[in-house]
């Protein structure tokens, strides 16, 4: 079944569409067909309307979250939708009373550390699978197959592993778990990039006397840097957003991540929705910032790599 994923995604040609700034001139097929008469004009309006509606659908709930974060408890239960006057108390409470800043830091460390380790595990494997046909097509599917199931039961062996290593309830332990759990996805995404790299590059380096690891480290890695960044960003976002492992494997403020802190706030007897909303927004800032700054690479990794 995973084999089917890869093969079908493989049907789609590579592209960097999301990276282009679009305008009427950048989409040739449409402007070519644009001579079709007034019917096309009508459809284009429908497209614009649909885009606006989907923007509203994506953004109104987020806007409501912002709105709630600026309301006092009284304003929320009175059913106001716009916080006038805005009450910044929730934001200061979220930043000072909840251990949130530390949790954001923990999340970022676990996300980036896990992503770097994942890339270190995944690149040799992806390269071996793409170049030497190690394991054939079915290995790629086999490697990804745990992804098809809820990871809950896998917590138990991972927990035992951490206990053996003396790393349970530490940020290092959580980082290690993230590194292992996302390696399969990273291999799957990287393999497409490796396959597009001309074999001649490796062969030239090997003729010059470079061994396999040397080729990988000094030749392949530099060439794949854009792909590594793209896949790294995707894996880091997955790590940052992860909740189940984090809540089970971390018990104290030294290791707890943002989703864990949020779930603890939700678990309190009296739920302070304003502060929870503000804390959620603070927690979301790093991923949204990463998305805005690295949008091209993020999207490139999701489409170009796995889809080639």
């Amino acid at each position: 079944m995973t084999d089917a994923f890869s093969r079908h995604l493989a049907a789609t040609p590579p592209n960097t569409a999301f990276e282009r700034t679009s305008g009427s001139t950048t989409v040739p097929p449409r402007s070519k067909a644009g001579s079709g008469g007034r019917g096309r004009g009508g459809r284009s309006v429908a497209a614009e309307v649909w885009v606006v509606l989907s923007l509203l659908a994506a953004l109104v709930p987020l806007g409501y979250l912002v709105s709630v974060s600026l309301m006092s408890q009284g304003q929320i239960s009175a059913g106001s939708l716009v916080p006038l006057p805005p009450d910044w108390g929730n934001w200061s409470a979220a930043l000072t009373e909840t251990g949130l800043p530390r949790a954001v830091l923990n999340s970022i460390v676990a996300a980036l550390g896990g992503a770097l380790l994942t890339l270190a595990f995944a690149l040799p494997a992806a390269w071996a699978m793409a170049r030497h046909r190690t394991g054939g097509r079915s290995l790629a599917g086999l490697v990804l197959s745990p992804w098809l199931l809820p990871p809950i039961v896998a917590i138990v062996p991972l927990f035992s592993l951490l206990r053996v290593l003396g790393l349970n309830n530490t940020l290092v332990g959580l980082t290690l778990v993230y590194a292992l759990t996302n390696t399969a996805v990273a291999i799957w995404l990287l393999e497409g990039f490796v396959r597009r790299l001309p074999v001649e590059v490796d062969e030239a380096a090997q003729l010059d006397g470079a061994g396999e690891w040397r080729v990988l480290v000094s030749v392949v890695t530099p060439l794949l840097t854009p792909a590594l960044i793209a896949v790294g960003v995707i894996v880091a976002v997955l790590n940052y957003n992860e909740f189940l492992f984090a809540t089970f494997l971390t018990q104290g403020p030294d290791a707890q991540t943002v989703p864990v802190i949020l779930s603890l706030m939700l678990g309190e007897r009296v739920q302070d929705f304003g502060t929870i909303a503000a804390a959620s927004l603070v927690g979301v800032v790093p991923v949204y910032a990463a998305a805005v700054f690295l949008q091209h690479r993020l999207v490139g990794g999701l489409t170009a790599g796995s889809l080639t």
Partner: protein, 279 residues
């Protein structure tokens, strides 16, 4: 290079082997593999109706969420592709739900559905003045649909992204030739564009099904499986068994049963996807 691959197979295969062993033994959270019990765990899971009901609920949920997400996602991708004005900023904004942490997505929709002062309640109160407060998440059917809506909101952007990529990646020469031959508008879309993206749409549907079968965080944050068992989806049942009742054997058995169910549901989709690809 083979050692790297081998160690990876061991690491990836270890949890799977653990699940298989735990399902056939008496296993608690602290002490797995106490005693071989054969298929006894499966018999008790199948005998008590809760687990099977949740698996059935999971199938309904996954199909509903996947169909709605793919329909909305394809429509949005096509609209983005046709729109003259939508640029990189619009596309980035549309992707935001997908990268929002699922716990935050749960918080967000829980707030929207809150009975006193939530978005739905307030809007309904404005439309129907004097109506009683309406609590979406404490009604079995609406709670189920509420979690599904949050899930659709979160993951439809992934479909948009994949389908939009396929639309842009079409061979421009074919489209051009068809339009020179007189194909325009809807006819051009149906005979040229749709077949070109059909494989991607099917693959996106497959990915979406799997994501919906695995949903846990949204249920945990929004409803805790309730009211009653209305939103007790398979991943939540597995979590309850493993981490609330410490019965890892039962959790592993439900996980394996879910694997069977996921396979049965996705096999036809995989078959369709294969055929579209070979065309």
């Amino acid at each position: 290079m083979a050692p790297a691959v081998l160690s990876l197979v061991v690491l990836g295969g270890y949890p799977l082997v653990f699940i298989a062993l735990a399902a056939f033994t008496e296993s608690s959270l602290g002490r797995p593999f106490q005693e071989f019990v054969g298929a006894a765990t499966f018999e008790s899971v199948l005998a008590d109706g809760d687990a099977t009901a949740s698996l059935l609920r999971g199938v309904v949920y996954a199909l509903l969420v996947a169909v709605v997400s793919v329909a909305l996602g394809v429509a949005t991708a096509v609209a983005l592709w046709r729109s003259v004005r939508a640029g990189a900023v619009v596309r980035t904004l549309l992707l935001l739900p997908m990268i929002t942490p699922p716990v935050v997505v749960g918080v967000l929709w829980k707030l929207v559905f809150t009975p006193s002062g939530g978005l739905v309640d307030t809007v309904l109160g404005a439309v129907i003045p004097g109506g009683a407060t309406f609590s979406v998440l404490s009604h079995p059917v609406f709670a189920f649909l509420g979690v599904a809506l949050a899930d659709v909101w979160e993951w439809t952007p992934l479909i948009v992204l994949l389908v939009f990529a396929a639309l842009i990646g079409q061979d421009a020469a074919i489209t051009e030739a068809a339009s020179l031959d007189g194909a325009h508008g809807f006819r051009l879309f149906r005979s040229i564009t749709l077949p070109a993206i059909a494989g991607t749409v099917a693959a996106a549907f497959l990915i979406r099904l799997v994501l919906a079968f695995k949903v846990f965080d949204l249920v945990y944050v929004m409803t805790s499986g309730g009211p009653g068992q209305a939103t007790t989806l398979p991943a939540y049942v597995i979590w309850q068994a493993a981490l609330q009742q410490f019965d890892v054997g039962r959790a592993a058995a439900v996980t394996l049963l879910l694997a069977v169910v996921v396979t049965l549901v996705t096999l036809p989709v995989v078959a369709v996807t294969r055929r579209l690809h070979n065309d």
